[in-house]
């Protein structure tokens, strides 16, 4: 089966995120009220051929641990569609 996998990678809480800060300032400058902390990460979508959903999820998690996220600075979530 082909699954569509959504990987979300975000800077770990507590680490300074200059991109997030810049976005927060820009949103404030545009007049959007009520914006608190902003953190900027990455969304990665991939098609994955796998036997079943659990296998796809395990494979995507392994991809995150080896390449897609940096274990020193980032957290990730994996969501398998279909």
């Amino acid at each position: 089966m082909t699954f569509r996998v959504h990987v979300r990678v975000v800077p770990r809480p507590g680490l300074l995120d200059p991109q997030g800060q810049a976005v927060a300032h820009a949103l404030a400058a545009l007049g959007f009220p009520g914006v608190g902390e902003v953190r900027v990460g990455r969304a990665i979508e991939l098609e994955l051929e796998a036997e079943d959903r659990a296998t796809a999820e395990a494979a995507a998690t392994a991809m995150c641990e080896r390449l897609l996220a940096n274990p020193v600075t980032e957290d990730f979530t994996v969501a398998v569609e279909g």
């Binding site: 800077p11 680490l15 800060q21 810049a22 990455r42 390449l67 897609l68 940096n70 020193v72 600075t73």
Partner: protein, 234 residues
């Protein structure tokens, strides 16, 4: 016997030529090595140069880490061989977990290209042996992702085990922040416990010939080959 140096060229490396020249001027037999190589060809020291390997896609150094040549680099490092990562090379070494920590976007959100003052915190490494301990040298650096981060326990261990090699220090008379990127504990470069794997953000190869105004950067390369410097120790 002269020291043999391999300078790796990844797709997107851009400092390999001047790095190669600096190694040669120091007396090494130095050659470029393609990232697809599976052996270091007998090199004593391997240098990962600056640049933007693989376009810095995903994270700087994240993809270069898996280039074929990196298996040989890892084996070389683990056998005690010399490995030096400059700027992007430092990022690659951290991504490869040959050095601890990571390098993130500069705290000031900008690419910073200007000379910095760094103190030589450790001279028992492959590339700082000819410096006087505690010497402060001014060398160029240029990067967007040079903010060294690691958890507190790792930072404490780096300090305890004398693994900080270069540290940003205040520049007399300058209003600019001495730490250009917000690095933890002003760390500009580190090494593994044995000192044979070294990574730092500044670019000594950019200040390694008299035409460029100073040759202080050459001292790193002279240290690498174990050659005497032309002048007095810094």
């Amino acid at each position: 016997m002269t020291i043999r140096v391999a300078v790796i060229r990844f797709p997107g490396s851009n400092c390999e030529s001047e790095t190669l020249e600096a190694a040669r001027r120091a007396g090494a037999t130095a050659e470029l090595l393609d990232y697809r190589a599976t052996s270091l060809g007998g090199a004593d020291v391997v240098i990962l140069p600056g640049g933007f390997s693989y376009g810095d896609y995903l994270r700087s150094g994240a993809i270069a880490r898996f280039a074929p040549v990196m298996q040989a680099v890892r084996a070389h490092a683990e056998a005690g061989g010399g490995v030096l990562g400059i700027c992007n090379g430092f990022q690659v070494l951290c991504e490869a977990h040959l050095l601890p920590g990571a390098l993130l976007h500069n705290a000031g959100q900008r690419f910073v290209a200007r000379p910095v003052d760094v103190r030589i915190e450790r001279t028992s490494t492959i590339c700082t042996g000819l410096f006087r301990p505690g010497a402060v040298v001014r060398i160029p650096q240029a990067h967007g992702e040079g903010r060294f981060v690691a958890d507190e326990a790792t930072l404490d261990a780096l300090e305890r085990d004398n693994q900080v090699v270069l540290r940003y220090v205040p520049v007399p008379g300058s209003d600019l922040p001495h730490n250009p990127n917000g690095s933890a504990r002003d760390i500009a470069g580190i090494c593994n416990p044995a000192g044979n794997v070294v990574g730092f953000m500044p670019h000594p190869e950019r200040l390694a010939e008299a035409t460029l105004g100073d040759t202080i950067g050459q001292t790193f390369f002279a240290s690498l080959v174990g050659a005497p410097t032309s002048g007095a120790p810094a």
